[in-house]
């Protein structure tokens, strides 16, 4: 690689952390459905097969078990929260997209992002990924009882069907979300599962929103303007 082409590449070459800290891949959106990542010999984890183009030198390596080691692999297999992830390392720009889904960038400063594995697109390789138990919320979404967590300092990109709306939850404003529209959440949030199932539901006269997730605490919730098919979709 000639270093001349790198200097024309914009943000990554003037990244303030370079030199005294490990270099960090720069995430930016090109439109709302394509993610461009500028890399300087660093790496990102991305959903398998989501690369649409790159320039420069890139190496793509499948990470078995999402790069979480043997334990993570076994956990993912057992929990059904499967995620096929590749590691992209190199020098240049790599573009990612998946089925024209809308992409949202999430910046993490040491906090934890909870996202469904099907909504995960890419994350800085320095971020730790893992699985966590979601309880009844996961069951009501039809996405299984477990969810993916991303933790550390860096950026991640998540996908949604339609542009995600970011809703802030604070002590005075708790939020209630339809399980089918939930995409991700971050911060210090407690979630509880609300069921509005009454005897009316049995007679087909339910309120239409029989299962809801209530978020309390302090953080952000990402919802998409579309509903997945959930087991309780029509109750």
């Amino acid at each position: 690689m000639d270093s001349g082409s790198v200097s024309t590449r914009g943000p990554c070459s003037v990244h303030p952390w370079r030199g005294y800290f490990r270099s960090v891949a720069m995430f930016r959106l090109q439109g709302s459905k394509v993610l461009a990542v500028d890399m300087t010999q660093d790496a990102v984890k991305a959903k398998n097969g989501s690369m649409v183009a790159y320039d420069g030198e890139m190496a793509f390596k499948k990470l078995s078990g999402g790069g979480e080691g043997l334990r993570g692999m076994v956990t993912r297999r057992i929990t059904g929260e499967q995620m096929t992830v590749m590691e992209v390392r190199g020098q240049g720009t790599c573009w990612f997209a998946d089925r024209a889904s809308e992409i949202t960038l999430v910046g993490l400063q040491g906090d934890k992002l909870y996202v469904e594995s099907s909504n995960f697109l890419a994350a800085d390789a320095g971020l730790r990924t893992g699985t966590s138990f979601t309880g009844t919320r996961g069951a009501s979404q039809g996405n299984g009882l477990f969810t993916t967590t991303i933790e550390g300092h860096g950026q991640a990109a998540i996908m949604s069907d339609g542009p995600a709306v970011v809703l802030r939850v604070s002590a005075q404003y708790p939020l209630t979300v339809d399980p089918g529209a939930y995409v991700a959440h971050q911060g210090n949030l407690r979630q509880s599962f609300q069921s509005g199932v009454t005897f009316r539901t049995l007679f087909g006269e339910g309120g239409g929103e029989a299962f809801q997730i209530r978020f309390e605490g302090d953080g952000l919730v990402y919802v998409q303007p579309s509903e997945r098919n959930t087991i309780a979709g029509d109750v």
Partner: protein, 258 residues
């Protein structure tokens, strides 16, 4: 980060958050809502089925479509509620002493100051009165004025004009070859032989794609003489496309009693 973070203070009141999400503000008021279109809410909001006894009075004045009653709920309480539908474009419309007919799957919510009635055209609902309603369309809505012929899949609804009629390209469909084409699709059926025709004064609402919501079986209107689609006659023949015209090859089956 450029992403906007919303909270109840920054969310709009009865307006779009973005092209795909609409925010309704409830202050002890009520909205009719199609089931499953609420994606999130702040505050305390109750969702009750149309059959809920306490809502009888409200339903009596603004909901006149027993066939669709099981698809609708009443949201009441205080807070802000986000509505969305399959990542379709959503828009709100204001009616003033007007009437508007809309495909039942595309209507998301409406204020109880409007009265919902079932259109004589199956699968469509009519809103009459004054108030706001929210509707979804795949792609932005285009407003056009009659006279116009529109593709059935692109039609979202129409306002203030008489109900449409079917229009068939007879020149293309009749005769032996036309029958063969209609039956088999061979020889270049364009798929556009059938349109809805609007005449008179008013506005027609079109979406810019042909993606529809899967129709839900809601039953048929009461079996009564003179009620179109009353189930007394006119069961679908199972043939796709245009119904048979006399003198067409497709009629052979029926003539031989097959």
């Amino acid at each position: 980060m450029s992403t906007v973070h919303h909270d109840p203070a920054t969310l709009p009141a009865d307006d779009n958050v973005n092209a795909y999400t609409f925010c309704v503000e409830l202050k002890g008021s009520q909205w009719f809502l199609q089931k499953g279109k609420m994606i999130a809410y702040y505050g305390t909001i109750d969702f009750n089925g149309i059959g809920h006894g306490r809502l009888d009075r409200l339903v009596r004045t603004s909901f006149h479509s027993p066939l669709h009653a099981s698809d609708w709920v009443v949201a009441e309480g205080s807070g802000k509620m986000l509505l969305a539908d399959r990542a379709f474009d959503v828009n709100s419309y204001d009616l003033e002493e007007g009437n508007l007919t809309i495909r039942s799957g595309n209507l998301l919510a409406f204020q109880p100051s409007l009265a919902l009635k079932q259109s004589i055209v199956p699968g469509f609902l009519t809103l009459i009165g004054t108030g706001k309603f929210v509707a979804a369309s795949n792609g932005p809505v285009v407003f056009v004025e009659p006279p116009i012929r529109v593709d059935p899949q692109a039609l979202v609804g129409w306002a203030d004009c008489p109900s449409p009629c079917h229009h068939y390209d007879h020149g293309y469909m009749t005769g032996l070859l036309g029958g063969l084409r209609a039956m088999t699709g061979l020889g270049g059926a364009s798929g556009e032989e059938h349109q809805f025709e609007f005449v008179g004064a008013g506005t027609v609402l079109l979406q810019s794609s042909e993606a529809l919501m899967a129709e839900q079986a809601v039953g048929t209107p009461p079996q009564q003489a003179g009620v179109p689609g009353g189930g007394a006659s006119g069961a679908p023949t199972g043939r796709s496309g245009a119904p048979g015209l006399p003198g067409q090859l497709g009629d052979l089956q029926r003539r031989f009693g097959l």
